[in-house]
C-alpha cells in the first residue's frame, strides 16, 4: 500500500466518525495544551526571578558582616560591625579582579519633607554605587566623590521615596528632606527598577557614605561592601581573594570562624533556579497526567473502532490486505489523532500562556524545547496507545471477521 493511499484511507476513517475523532482529539489538545502552558509559566517565573537577581547588579559579589556573639548569645547575621571603610579601601588597592567597590551603610529612618513623611531605607554610599548595583539616574546627579570627601548633606531619592514625599513624577531637585532631623538637599532621583520578589529597590534614599556614618550612625563601619567582578567567570576567584584578604586583615586563621560572609550572585541565581526547576517539574507532571488520560482516550476509541470495523477489516483482508497493512493503518490513525491534537494543543497552550501573562501578570515563556517535547510526547502516546488496538485489528481472523455481527 502506498503512503498517499494510506493517508487517504486514514482521513476517510477519521472523517467518518467526526464527533468521536473530535472528542478524542480534544483529550490530547487539553493534555498537550496544559503541558505547554504549565511549562511556560514555570520557565517564565524562572526567567523573571533570574532577571530580578540580575538587576541587583551584574557580576556582583557582596561582603556582609558576620554574626555578633557576646557571651554565647548570637544576634544573627549582619549584626556585627566588623567591616570598615578600610576593608573596602584594601579591596580596591589589592584585588585587581574587582572592577569597582562600593561600600554602603544602610538603615531605616523616618524622613520628612514639607508636610509629608515616610519611613524608608537610607543608604550611605560612594559614587561608583550606581554602576555596581545597576542604578540609573533620572533627574539631577548621584552622590559624587567630592560629596563623600566633604561630608555633604545631599540626598538622591529613589522613585518610591520621591513619590511618597513629593508626589508622583515630581522633580524635587533643589528641595530639602529631613533625615533624623537633619536637613539634606535633594540633588537627584534614580530611575525605577521595578524590582519585585526581593523587596522594592525603588523605595530608597542615597546619601554620601561619610555623611551617613558621621551624622546618622555615629560610627564608621559599613554594612555591606558591593564588589563588581570583571566578568562572570572571575566571580569565584574574586570571592576567594576577598575572603583571604579580609581574613588576614581581621587576623582570623580559621575560615570557619570568619566575622563576615560573602554572597556570590551566581549562587543566588543557582539556588533560585533549583526552586523554579522544581516548580516547572511539578506543574509539568500535573499536566502530564492529563496527557496520559488523553492517551487512554485514544486507546479506548481505537479499540471501539476495531470492534466496530471488524467486518471492514475482514473485507480488507479478503481482498488482499496483509497484517502489516492493517496494523499500519490503525496505528497511523491513532498517531494522526494525537498529532492533530498536539498541534492544536501547542497553539492553545501558547494562547493560554499569553492570556496568563496579560491578565494574570505572571511572565511566561513558551520555549521551542517544550513545543518539541509536547510534539514528541503526543506522537509517542499515539504509538504506545495505538499499538495494542492496531495489533488486535491485524490479528483478526478474516473468516470470523467477515461473519462478525
Amino acid at each position: 500500500m502506498k503512503i498517499a493511499d494510506l493517508f487517504e484511507e486514514i482521513f476517510f476513517a477519521l472523517f467518518a466518525n467526526k464527533a468521536r475523532s473530535g472528542l478524542t482529539i480534544l483529550g490530547i489538545v487539553i493534555g498537550v495544551g496544559s503541558v505547554i502552558a504549565m511549562i511556560a509559566i514555570g520557565q517564565g517565573s524562572q526567567s523573571s526571578i533570574q532577571s530580578n537577581i540580575q538587576s541587583l547588579g551584574s557580576n556582583l559579589v557582596q561582603v556582609m558582616p558576620g554574626m555578633q556573639k557576646s557571651s554565647g548569645v548570637s544576634s544573627g547575621w549582619g549584626s556585627s560591625q566588623t567591616l570598615t571603610n578600610e576593608d573596602a579601601e584594601a579591596i580596591v588597592a589589592e584585588i585587581f579582579l574587582a572592577n569597582a567597590v562600593a561600600p554602603e551603610i544602610s538603615s531605616r529612618y523616618q524622613i520628612t519633607a514639607k508636610g509629608t513623611n515616610t519611613n524608608t531605607q537610607v543608604v550611605g554610599t560612594v559614587s561608583v554605587y550606581p554602576g555596581v548595583r545597576n542604578v540609573e539616574i533620572d533627574f539631577g546627579s548621584f552622590v559624587s566623590d567630592q560629596n563623600v570627601k566633604s561630608l555633604s548633606k545631599v540626598a538622591v531619592l529613589g522613585p518610591g521615596a520621591r513619590d511618597d514625599l513629593f508626589g508622583e513624577g515630581a522633580d524635587p531637585v533643589g528641595q530639602t528632606v529631613r533625615i533624623k532631623g537633619i536637613e539634606f538637599k535633594v540633588i537627584g532621583v534614580t530611575k525605577t527598577k521595578g524590582g519585585s520578589g526581593f523587596g522594592s529597590q525603588d523605595d530608597m534614599i542615597f546619601i554620601p557614605l561619610s555623611s551617613a556614618q558621621k551624622f546618622l550612625v555615629g560610627k564608621s563601619y559599613v554594612s555591606t561592601i558591593n564588589i563588581q567582578a570583571q566578568d562572570a567567570e572571575s566571580m569565584t576567584a574574586l570571592q576567594e581573594e576577598v575572603t583571604s584578604l579580609l581574613l588576614a586583615r581581621h587576623n582570623i586563621s580559621d575560615p570557619d570562624s570568619a566575622d563576615f560572609r560573602i554572597m556570590n550572585q551566581a549562587d543566588i541565581v543557582a539556588s533560585a533556579s533549583t526552586i523554579t526547576d522544581t516548580l516547572t517539574l511539578l506543574l509539568g507532571s500535573i499536566a502530564g497526567i492529563s496527557l496520559v488520560v488523553g492517551g487512554i482516550g485514544i486507546m479506548n476509541m481505537m479499540l471501539t473502532n476495531v470492534t466496530e470495523r471488524t467486518r471492514e477489516i475482514g473485507l480488507r483482508k479478503a481482498i488482499g490486505a496483509k497484517r502489516g497493512d492493517i496494523s499500519v493503518q490503525f496505528l497511523l490513525e491513532a498517531i494522526m489523532l494525537t498529532l492533530i491534537g498536539g498541534v492544536v494543543g501547542i497553539f492553545l497552550g501558547w494562547l493560554a500562556s499569553l492570556g496568563v501573562e496579560k491578565f494574570g501578570g505572571i511572565s511566561t515563556a513558551v520555549s521551542s524545547t517544550s513545543v518539541a517535547l509536547a510534539f514528541g510526547v503526543s506522537a509517542a502516546i499515539g504509538i504506545v496507545f495505538g499499538y495494542y488496538p492496531a495489533r488486535r485489528a491485524a490479528k483478526l481472523n478474516p473468516i470470523q471477521a467477515l461473519r462478525y455481527e
Binding site: M1, K2, D5, E9, F12, K317, I319, R323
Partner: protein
C-alpha cells in the same frame, strides 16, 4: 485452473476433533461456472474458505494456477487473494459512508495499481456488473440490495482475478433481484470467461451454473453437468 486433491479439514475443539471435509478431490478448469451446493453444515463454507485462500486445509493439496496454496503463510495467502481471487459475499460487505467508486477501487489500492488507472478500471468493472453510471458517486448505504450486490461483483472483478467466489450472493435479496444478480454472473462467465464458483444451499440458485457439485457431511455426493443449461 483449480485442482483439489484429497482435501480434508479437521477442527480440534475442546471435546475432540470434528471432521468437516473428508478427502475431497475435484478439478475446475478456467472459464467454468460451478455451483457448490449443500445444506447448512455440509462443509461448503469451509470449502469456500479454502478455495478462497482464507484458510488452509488440514490435509491434501490445493493447486491454484499450479501453486500449492495449502502450504502458504498468512501473508502469502493474502497475496494470492489480492491477485487471484474476487469475493462476493452474502452480506455485500461494502464500506459504509463511501462512494461506489471508492469501494470498487479498494482492491486496486492494495494491489498497488497507479492512482490514474484505478477509476477507469473501476468504471469498466461496474459496467460489466451492470450498474448504471448515475450511481457511481452515490454512497453505498443509499443503494438497494441488488445494486449493492452489483457493486460487490464489480469489486470482485476489478483486479481481473483467476477465480470469482460468490458465497450465497442472493441470500439477502428477494427472488427477483436475486435472479438479476445471477444473470449478471452468468453473463460474466459467458462473455468475459471468468471462472466462477457459486456457493449456495438452494437448487434454484445452483441451476444457474453449468456444473453442480453437491456436498453433504463433508463429502462429494454428486458432480455433474447441469443438464438444464447444456
Amino acid at each position: 485452473m483449480i485442482e483439489c486433491k484429497n482435501i480434508s479439514k479437521i477442527y480440534s475443539t475442546g471435546v475432540g476433533e470434528v471432521t468437516v471435509l473428508k478427502n475431497l478431490s475435484f478439478t475446475i478448469t478456467d472459464g467454468e461456472f460451478v455451483a457448490i451446493m449443500g445444506p447448512s453444515g455440509s462443509g461448503k463454507s469451509t470449502l469456500m474458505n479454502i478455495l478462497g485462500a482464507l484458510d488452509v486445509p488440514s490435509g491434501g493439496e490445493y493447486f491454484l494456477d499450479q501453486k500449492n496454496v495449502a502450504e502458504l503463510s498468512d501473508d502469502e495467502l493474502a497475496e494470492i487473494r489480492k491477485n487471484k481471487i474476487g469475493f462476493v459475499f452474502q452480506s455485500f460487505n461494502l464500506l459504509p459512508r463511501s462512494t461506489v467508486l471508492r469501494n470498487v477501487m479498494l482492491p486496486l489500492v492494495y494491489a498497488g495499481v497507479p492512482k490514474g488507472e484505478r477509476e477507469a478500471r473501476a468504471r469498466e468493472a461496474l459496467e460489466n456488473a451492470g450498474l448504471d453510471e448515475e450511481h457511481f458517486y452515490h454512497l453505498t448505504n443509499q443503494l438497494s440490495g441488488g445494486q449493492m450486490q452489483r457493486v460487490a461483483i464489480a469489486r470482485a472483478l476489478v483486479n481481473n482475478p483467476s477465480l470469482i467466489l460468490a458465497d450465497e450472493p442472493t441470500g439477502n435479496l428477494d427472488t427477483k433481484t436475486g435472479e438479476v444478480v445471477l444473470r449478471t454472473l452468468e453473463e460474466l462467465n459467458k462473455k468475459q470467461h471468468h471462472t466462477i464458483i457459486l456457493i449456495t444451499h438452494e437448487r434454484d440458485v445452483a441451476e444457474h451454473a453449468r456444473r453442480i457439485i453437491q456436498i453433504r457431511d463433508g463429502g462429494i455426493v454428486s458432480d455433474e453437468e447441469n443438464k438444464k443449461i447444456s
